[in-house]
Amino acid sequence: MSDTSVVAAAGATAAPPSERQQARRENWRLVRRRPAFIIGLVILLVWIVCALFGTSFVPYDPFETREIAYARPGGTYYFGTDQTGRDVFSRVVVGARDVLKIAPLAAFLGVLFGVILGMFMGYVGRWFDLVSGRVVEALLSLPTILIGLLAVTTLGKSNPVVIGVVAVLFTPIVAKTVRAAVMAERDLDYVTSAKLRGESTPFIMFREILPNIWGPIIVELTIRVGYAIFVISTLSFLGAGPPPPSPEWGAQVSQGYNDLAAGFWWTTLFPALAIASLVIAVNLIADSVQAALEA
């Protein structure tokens, strides 16, 4: 984080577009150079390729059952086979699809709701801020997984429900961050001058303030994608995910962990490591984005 970038980033808020663009480019260059970012990106890209083209290069059909149940990992079946003789390697590769489809969407929706709520809380303030502040705190006071489990149980298990529930669970957390960012901006000169110009409140919120708080919002989005993977795979492990034949990773662990006692570790370990690697990758990227945007 050199001094020039600090100056450039600080100047970006009020600077003309060309200078702001330059500052962004400078920040991006900083992000790109971090080894953590590169490692994270490579792992993420591998999983995206698996999700998009996995079905065409896996050695076996991930749903086809075989006579050889619980074959040990080796040359024929890289990660072994599971209780019905399905190839664990093929299932892990194809299983990337579900989580990579659901998690970013849930995170995006959560950030969208959170930005809208946080903007109103921070800018409109007063009683609205007071009331929603209390509700936000109550929502935050419970482990996400618990509320998620409760909501998915009562609303029914399906992808749209999981996406909606995770998005709603993320809303208060995002709103809190956005509210703080808005509070820091709302008494600055450019907001005051927009008010004096007679601009409407929505215009000031979304055309004046919003462009200036993109930094924390993008950071929040990358962090939320990581958490969404965390929450969605946990929910699916706890039985609130896609039903059994699905190769979704959390569901695979939940189908496999009962075999651990009998010594068949591979049906659990490989999908578990897949989840771990994806979550770590996304978090390495998020950490780098945060370090660069907040420089």
């Binding site: 489990l149 006692a261 989840i275």
Partner: protein, 316 residues
């Protein structure tokens, strides 16, 4: 101090009431028929009706809400649909078992994380610091059921150090209980280590850069004394907050760990309740976890106010 405590208590009660209302909303958002859900589609209509009347599930929603809030004020969480026993009597022994696991996890995590947080802060920017931060970031982002599954595959299945079924049989001595509990506890240690270590590190770095630390060093205090008397007192406030927040989350994440290790705690109660659609039991156990969380954050706020007079005076 008393005013601060009073204010803080009132706001806890308000939050708890909001929480209970939200739970009520989630549970009742769909027009459901608890008797039908529980007894299944083949059950005769009379027994379904009888069931609903017995648990008041056939009354208007607003009346049900009023009733459940009134009961809650008396700390009565109602009876389980499935067994008819009171929620508290079902939850208590399970909560005790989960508590044992959680305490073991915290007893290992807190000193370890604070030690590494301080260690990293004093070597800021060097390799050891990056290693602690990156390890913390990586381990705290992995879902706990994944960590638990990996620990179990490696240590309990392949090397047979720990137990696959972690619930100790009754009458097991404390020392042998340790062998049952250590790996599920470690799964939680791995998650919480990162959060607490990072928070400690940030707090210590802030305090080390503050004027009072510089003054203390300049007037000739030894670095150990500066650390103890000036830095840690100020640096640990955010750490205490994080620990108290994590105590609540610990009970959320314990569900996954308990399931992997077949441990009969609050998590398995909740999962069973989910499976049987036992709404009162589910609602009750989630609320009890909410109360534990409230108490732990309250305790943390008091502790911070005690350590830092500025907060104490500002609030009252």
């Amino acid at each position: 101090m008393w005013r601060f405590l009073f204010k803080r208590l009132i706001s806890s009660v308000v939050t708890l009431w909001l929480l209970a209302s939200m739970l009520f909303l989630i549970v009742n958002v769909l027009p459901g028929n608890p008797g039908r859900k529980l007894l299944g589609p083949q059950a005769p209509q009379e027994s379904v009706d009888q069931y609903n009347t017995k648990f008041g599930a056939d009354r208007p929603l607003l009346e049900q809400y009023g009733k459940s809030m009134k009961r809650l004020a008396k700390l009565d969480f109602g009876d389980s649909y499935a067994t008819g026993k009171s929620v508290v009597s079902v939850v208590r022994p399970a909560l005790f078992r989960s508590g044992k696991l959680a305490v073991l996890a915290l007893v290992i995590t807190i000193p370890l994380a604070i030690f590494f947080g301080i260690y990293a802060a004093r070597r800021q920017g060097k390799f050891a610091d990056r290693a602690v931060v990156m390890t913390g970031l990586a381990t705290s982002s992995i879902p706990e059921f994944v960590t638990a599954a990996v620990l179990m595959s490696v240590f309990c299945v392949t090397w047979k150090f720990g137990r696959v079924f972690a619930t100790p049989p009754p009458g097991t001595s404390v020392i042998s209980q340790f062998r049952y509990l250590i790996f599920p506890a470690l799964a939680m240690v791995i998650i919480y280590f990162g959060y607490i270590a990072r928070m400690t590190r940030a707090g210590v770095i802030n305090a080390l850069q503050a004027d009072y630390s510089r003054t203390a060093t300049m007037k000739g205090l030894s670095s150990g004394r500066v650390m103890r008397r000036h830095v840690l007192r100020n640096a640990l406030a955010p750490t205490i907050t994080v620990i108290s927040v994590q105590v609540g989350y610990l009970f959320g994440s314990i569900i996954g760990v308990e399931r992997v290790f077949n441990y009969q705690g609050i998590g398995s109660i909740i999962l069973n309740a989910v499976g049987k659609k036992d709404i009162p039991l589910l609602q009750g156990s989630v609320l009890i976890i909410g109360i534990i969380y409230m108490l732990s954050t309250l305790l943390a706020d008091l502790l911070i106010a005690f350590l830092n007079p500025r907060i104490r005076l500002e609030q009252s």
